[in-house]
């Protein structure tokens, strides 16, 4: 118990870092996913291919390899200087982006064609149709899958400890090496991750009820 109380301030710092990375990365990832989904559905073949190659490349390689490629690989060029936090944010964002792209694409395609026809027949252009008609409906349908991916991405941030990012996991490792009490510390870490993820799923449940599909 004492170990936990003594290490709380440090774990708190780590938790803040984890949340900081998660929030920025998930917002960036969502934007990447949205852009890629729209490219994938664009009427131009070359754009479809760009999006498809991006998604396939990211989904077909391990997260750790992507992380090392961005942190070590890109930093080997003299004109690149990425600190480990931003390398981590970018990796999580790109990784989540590829999965979001598929989620959003499927969500858009699940909306009945008649919706677009009605919107276009009223004189709305394609981007107004997307903004006012298709995306609002698609996002409601996607919410559970989006939450799922957000939870996976949050857990992925713990892998950033490998490149020394001072997140929750890394703080835990440091404390363990000072206290020699891995059982208590890793249990505490697990509880902390669990609480955040549980709150996330509560938030998602609330949003789903709030925007119930009618």
């Amino acid at each position: 118990m004492e170990t936990i109380i003594e290490s709380l301030p440090m774990l708190w710092e780590g938790l803040k870092m984890t949340l900081y990375i998660f929030v920025i990365a998930i917002v960036l990832g969502f934007l990447i996913g949205l852009v890629m989904a729209l490219l994938r559905l664009a009427p131009l073949k070359i754009l479809n291919w760009i999006a498809k190659i991006f998604v396939d490349a990211i989904r077909g390689t391990p997260f750790i390899v992507q992380l090392f490629f961005i942190y070590f690989g890109l930093n080997s060029f003299s004109w690149v200087s990425l600190d480990n936090v931003w390398a981590g944010i970018i990796t999580v964002a790109i990784n989540a982006g590829a999965y979001f792209a598929e989620i959003i694409r499927a969500g858009i395609q699940s909306i009945d064609k008649g919706q677009t026809e009605a919107a276009r027949s009223l004189g709305l252009n394609q981007s107004q149709n997307m903004r006012f008609i298709i995306l609002p409906q698609a996002f409601r349908r996607m919410l559970p899958t989006i939450t799922n991916q957000a939870i996976i991405s949050l857990k992925d941030t713990s892998l950033l400890s490998i490149i020394g990012v001072a997140d929750l996991t890394q703080r835990g490792r440091v404390i363990v090496s000072a206290t020699f009490d891995p059982f208590t510390i890793y249990l505490a870490l697990g509880v902390m991750y669990f609480i955040i993820i549980y709150l996330l799923s509560l938030l998602s449940g609330y949003l789903e009820r709030r925007f119930v599909l009618r």
Binding site: Q115, A118, A119, L122, G123, L124, Q128, R214
Partner: protein
Amino acid sequence: MSMIQVKNLKKSFGNLEVIKDITTAVEPSEVVCVIGSSGSGKSTFLRCLNRLEELSGGHVYIDGVDITDPKNNINEIRQKVGMVFQHFNLFPHMTVLENLILAPVKLGKLKSEPAEKKALGLLEKVGLGAKAKAYPGELSGGQKQRVAIARALAMDPKVMLFDEPTSALDPEMVGDVLGVMKELAKEGMTMVVVTHEMGFAAEVADRVLFIDEGYIVEENVPKELFGNPQQVRTKAFLSKVL
């Protein structure tokens, strides 16, 4: 000048020629009903009139403007052409009122307050003044279709296109929808109606087009077309549906 002019319209899907060659015109305030068996191309014909289907050949002029000319903004043309679909296609994430004001407000035709006022007036007109705050999912089919008509009217269209507006309705709902359409016709709206309701066509249409295999086989005032059809195919079709 004709409200709608169709010149040598052609439409193919891949190798399948659905509309082979159609030329016709619709005058202001005229009500034209389009009949024909399923697969005859009548819905495709209607959907070419606001370019929901891209034409494979020929021209369509709405109020004198060539809708196939890339110099003309199709979105502006469509604002003048209301469309009502078989499956209503209301926006389920919006209330009835929001369905009606979306296009006028977002397209800068009206500010939201006058748009709401106008929308409420239109809902009164179709007999659904009490449903403004309801969501489409809470309405019956007949109510949905009347909302869809009101939504199209909210843009002050010069022409209304109806694509089998009563085909997806329970029989007891059909009358309400046809009633609203008759009212519109009486007010002088230019209408093109693809329909299986021969009674409606006989009563309301100024002219009936019989389309078969991608051509207009016969067109005439309803009394003549239904009472004294000239073509063999028209006779065969009418003997099946009447």
